[in-house]
């Protein structure tokens, strides 16, 4: 049988692997597979780039669109899928190599992480509204359990909060889907896009609003993101790395994708999305100033970056969107790095609170150094990739003679610097760290640092040679923004 490089694999393979977990448990292959499955998918995704460069791949299931379900792999979704596979690979490597706590080893996390990957991949690949809802729930459920995985009080609180607010979000989204179906009789995204304009305006508005709120909660936009710090605080840092690096990106993509496809009038969407992005950015950065727990701080910082990406995506210009895609990649790398460093520090210093981490650079110099690299990357300071993507977005705004987002982004970056450098200063404070002085924890094996060093190297590489990703990012932006192209490739006709 000939192997066909189909997008289905991105969903099917992890699903299969996850459901046959008992088998792997018996064969002691969990760690290897958790690392291997996303790695295989990553290689597959990389191999698909030339194909997708020619034309988007369309994988129909049973019936051709608009009636059937289909997976739509264009440059944008391929880029994100690659990113997700990479993120999961890295986290898996970290869990495998890093002598992790027991609750992060074994069958449960194996299944859940792979399901999370399924959910993320499905969200960006699917071309069907209801399918979108299903993947949203898959991703959501696995995320709820993942955040409660440690099974102590903070983790359960985080899981419960996440579950409640996530269910509300899913409910809103489901309502929107129902209304769309009732109005248009269609669930295929392209078909819905074609017919959405025919709906009465008030109903259009209601549907858009419901989707915006549902996905806004999921993708952590400002007035709906109050749950984020609590959940990130309660969960394991290695898990939050996935939330911040994978899950949010997927929802963000879905939100913008829907906005492009459904909201026919980009001017209106631009106002809404940019406003939300700007609010998220500035509020999160300000709120992060006073956080004394590293996970909370990283959560707020993550929110700020999401706002930034939203601001750039919402501008719907090809340059800023390309920059935003690039920034998604960089942000994923950076947040993986920072959360995994946080995981190491947590294990070493037994706490992630500011006062307990004072002088932590003395006991784990490499982790502190990597935190510095991560902070520089997230602040967008050269020579790391974050700078290039930020510059790309800013240059897009400058090209369009739009000054206020530039001012806002730079101001927010300054505030961000205010708290990140506070943490750096604390890590390097000239005092002996409080907790680790008496705890005789063994130093981490070097292998635990390998994924982190890889990330740092990649960040540096992307900062020095951003042209490596240029074509894929620009094509992704093109694919995301060009509504007609999508419609044509799905439905076979231009609108």
């Amino acid at each position: 049988m000939e192997f066909s490089a189909s997008p289905v694999w991105f969903i099917a393979l992890p699903l299969l692997a996850a459901f046959s977990a008992p088998l792997w448990t018996r064969w002691h292959l969990l760690d290897h597979l958790l690392f291997g499955v996303p790695l295989v998918l990553l290689i597959l995704a990389l191999g698909l780039f030339p194909t997708v460069h020619e034309a988007p791949l369309l994988e129909t299931i049973v019936i051709a669109p608009p009636l059937g379900i289909h997976l739509h792999l264009d440059s944008a979704s391929l880029l994100l899928v690659t990113l997700f596979c990479f993120a999961v690979t890295l986290v898996a490597a970290f869990l495998w190599l890093g002598a992790t706590d027991s609750h992060l080893r074994g069958r449960r996390p194996f299944v859940l992480i792979l399901l999370l990957l399924v959910g993320g991949n499905g969200l960006v690949l699917t071309g069907d509204l209801f399918n979108l809802y299903v993947f949203l729930e898959i991703a959501g459920v696995s995320a709820y359990v993942l955040s409660a995985l440690r099974d102590d009080r903070p983790a359960l609180e985080a899981g419960l909060k996440y579950l409640i607010i996530g269910s509300v979000a899913a409910l809103f989204f489901l309502l929107a889907v129902v209304l769309v179906y009732l109005q248009t009789g269609q669930l295929n995204l392209a078909a819905v896009a074609r017919e959405f304009a025919a709906i009465p305006p008030a109903m259009q508005g209601l549907i858009a609003l419901l989707m915006l709120i549902g996905l806004g909660i999921k993708s952590e936009l400002f007035p709906f993101n109050f749950w984020v710090p609590d959940v990130y605080r309660g969960s394991d840092p290695a898990v939050t790395a996935l939330f911040s690096g994978l899950l949010v990106k997927a929802f963000l993509f879905v939100l913008v994708h829907l906005a492009v496809l459904i909201w026919a009038d980009p001017a209106v969407a631009r106002v809404w999305l940019m406003t939300l992005g700007a609010l998220t950015l500035i509020v999160a950065e300000l709120a992060a100033l006073r956080q004394d727990d590293m996970r909370r701080m990283l959560a707020y910082s993550s929110l700020g970056q999401i706002g930034l990406i939203m601001l750039a995506l919402g501008f719907f210009s090809e340059t800023t969107t390309a920059g935003a895609f690039f920034h998604m990649i960089n942000h994923t790398l950076v947040k993986l790095l920072l959360f995994l460093v946080a995981a190491l520090l947590l294990r070493r210093c037994l706490s992630l609170r500011l006062e307990d981490l004072a002088g932590a650079a003395r006991v784990s110099p490499l982790a502190a150094g990597l935190f510095v690299v991560g902070a520089l990357g997230v602040l967008g300071l050269p020579p790391f990739g974050g700078f290039m993507s930020k510059l790309w977005m800013l240059q897009g705004f400058a090209e369009a003679q739009r000054i206020w987002p530039i001012a806002l982004i730079l101001f927010a970056a300054l505030i961000e610097a205010g708290y990140y450098f506070r943490w750096i200063r604390v890590l390097y404070a000239p005092v002996a760290p409080a907790a680790s002085a008496d705890t005789k924890t063994t130093p981490e094996p070097w292998a635990a640092y390998a994924p982190l060093l890889l990330i740092a190297g990649l960040m540096l590489l992307l900062g020095v040679a951003p042209f490596l990703l240029e074509t894929s990012v620009v094509e992704a932006a093109h694919a995301l923004l060009d509504r007609d192209l999508t419609l044509q490739s799905v439905l076979g006709v231009a609108q």
Partner: protein
């Protein structure tokens, strides 16, 4: 292993010199994205600043390489060098900014390696510097939106508002870096708290990058800023504001310097003041003034390296850094005494050292521009500088030893002495041959900036249309007079006797002891407060403003952070409320608005 590491480090510190010597005319391009490229080339302006780097870095690296190798510091220092060289070689704003940022954060990481840094100091340092960097970024983005290119090129066709925006943004960015008032607060904190040798780099080299930026402004706005908004008297009107900023900076910082109790803080404020002169001169924009500015940049680099390295040696030997705790080191550290002596002569701009040549050019430039009130302000600052210069040498070296360490100190290790000797030699040579510096160092830069070169009839002579002076003659006369007078006196000295004790003083018939408060260094300048203007200046700082700003920001942060501490029901309620309000609005508007 350690030796190899140290040798490697020293080799790295020689890279600016190598770059300067081997670069030639070539350009180097590195693609980024979207057709943008980083372009590196070596113009005379960059070459001048690269020369400063090439001089300064090995001299600082030598004492840094002493003792057990500090790997992290070496690495960061190498990064810092990389950043500064990128910044200088960059032919476009992108490279400039990248170099600028690399320099900023690597210097920050070097700064916090000192055990003396406080959270406030470190935060002030990095936030001011990042504010400067982001202003630079904003300026270059505005520039880009006007021209569609990041190349550093004259900005002639843009609208007046656009050009002013670029001028103000870039000007602010660079003024923060040189520490112009009221954006100077990071300098005293940073220079004071940095590792002692790194302070030399901060004051001598990193602050010069701000000047490099300011000197780029005449490149962007040709005709020495006059293209921006016409002329005022004989100078550019846009530069007039810049010049006043510089002059006020110089005056206020000088008085602040006088009132400091800590050597390094004093040097920091003096650095602010000295760079204030340069800002003023750049504002004047004529070839004389800019020539003076470049000369002053050179001299200030040498002087500040010399002083900071010397005082680093003193701190190393005594562990004391306040005027109150030192004293009478002249017998114990004569080399350091001479270094500081030469340093303060250069700092005060006294003949025959080159500081005077620089000041002379700036003064003449101001007279030429007919901006005499600025001249008065500069004169005020440079005479008031005598007081802190005197304090700088009196406090540690003269008077009486005030701590056990000061009584038993010995000369600093040779790795500190070698840079001191080299820098002293350079300063003296430049003082004798100001014409050499003009012709070889200053004139090429002036020509790049589109100004007429000053020229020099001979190496010893400094010549301007307003008259000049001859460094060789000056040095010969002064040296000759000194030798002759001393010789004559020595021949007819009669019975000369050295006092048996430092406490053998005429003290109204009393016999002072070690407990008598004899060291006037601590209180020096105290009576200056009684002069109304100075009293007013010394009574006001920007610390309160900064603290207030921090407080307000943190209060806002607390307020917003409070939003995030509710239960899921509140979050849901909020989402529902948004839905209800927005749909009501929609319904009222009858559609999507």
């Amino acid at each position: 292993m350690n030796l190899i590491l140290k040798l490697l480090f020293l080799a790295v510190s020689l890279t600016p010199a190598l770059t300067l010597l081997t670069w030639g005319d070539g350009t180097l391009a590195w693609p980024l994205f979207g057709g943008f490229e980083l372009l590196f080339e070596l113009g005379p302006l960059s070459a001048f600043f690269l020369l400063l780097l090439a001089l300064g870095t090995p001299l600082v690296a030598l004492p840094m390489a002493r003792g057990t190798p500090d790997r992290a510091a070496y690495g960061l220092f190498a990064l810092l060098l990389l950043g500064m060289q990128m910044l200088l070689l960059a032919g476009d704003f992108l490279g400039l900014f990248i170099g600028w940022e690399v320099m900023t954060w690597s210097s920050y990481l070097l700064l916090i390696r000192s055990t003396r840094t406080t959270l406030e100091g470190a935060q002030t340092y990095i936030l001011f510097n990042l504010a400067s960097a982001f202003l630079l970024l904003a300026g270059m983005l505005v520039f880009y939106s006007l021209t569609g290119d990041f190349r550093i090129a004259p900005l002639t066709e843009a609208s007046a508002a656009g050009r002013w925006a670029v001028f103000i943004l870039l000007g602010l960015a660079f003024l923060i870096k040189v520490g112009a008032l009221p954006l100077h607060r990071w300098i005293p904190l940073g220079y004071d708290q940095a590792p002692d040798l790194f302070s030399a780099v901060l004051a001598g080299l990193i602050s010069k990058m701000g000047l490099y930026g300011l000197l780029l402004l005449p490149t962007l706005f040709p005709d020495a800023l006059a293209g921006l908004s016409g002329r005022l008297l004989n100078g550019p009107a846009a530069g007039y504001g810049l010049a006043w900023i510089g002059a006020i900076t110089a005056v206020v910082a000088t008085f602040k310097a006088i009132s400091q109790q800590d050597i390094k803080r004093l040097l920091a404020y003096s650095s602010i003041a000295q760079l204030g002169y340069v800002v003023t001169a750049i504002g004047v924009g004529s070839s004389l003034a800019v020539g003076g500015a470049i000369f002053q940049t050179l001299v200030h680099t040498l002087v500040k390296l010399l002083l900071f390295i010397t005082f680093a040696g003193i701190v190393l030997q005594t562990g004391q850094r306040r005027f109150n705790d030192l004293g009478h080191l002249i017998d114990r550290m004569p080399m350091a005494f001479f270094a500081v002596l030469i340093g303060i002569i250069g700092l005060a701009g006294m003949p025959p050292l080159p500081g005077f040549a620089a000041k002379y050019l700036m003064f003449v430039g101001l007279i030429d521009a007919r901006w005499l009130l600025l001249l008065a302000a500069m004169m005020l600052s440079s005479t008031a500088a005598f007081i802190y210069c005197y304090r700088l040498i009196y406090g540690p070296f003269l008077g009486h030893a005030n701590s056990p360490e000061a009584r038993t100190a010995t000369e600093a290790p040779w790795s500190y002495l070698v840079p001191q000797v080299v820098l002293m030699g350079l300063l003296v040579l430049l003082g004798i041959f100001p014409g050499f510096a003009i012709e070889v160092i200053v004139d090429p830069v002036l020509m790049t900036l589109g100004l007429t070169p000053i020229g020099a009839p001979s190496w010893g002579e400094l010549a301007t249309p307003y008259g000049g002076y001859d460094g060789v003659v000056l040095m010969t006369v002064f040296g000759g007079a000194f030798v002759i007078v001393t010789a004559l006196f020595w021949l007819a000295r009669g019975q000369m006797r050295r006092a048996g004790s430092p406490y053998d003083l005429s003290f109204a018939g009393e016999v002072p002891t070690a407990d008598t408060p004899l060291h006037y260094g601590a209180g020096m300048g105290r009576e200056l407060r009684r002069i109304p203007l100075i009293g007013w200046i010394l009574a006001h700082t920007t610390a309160g403003v900064q603290a207030g700003l921090t407080r307000q920001t943190l209060a806002a942060a607390g307020l917003l952070g409070g939003l995030y501490r509710r239960d899921p029901q509140t979050w849901t309620l909020l989402a529902v409320l948004v839905l209800v309000v927005a749909s009501t609005l929609l319904a009222l508007n009858g559609g999507w608005f």
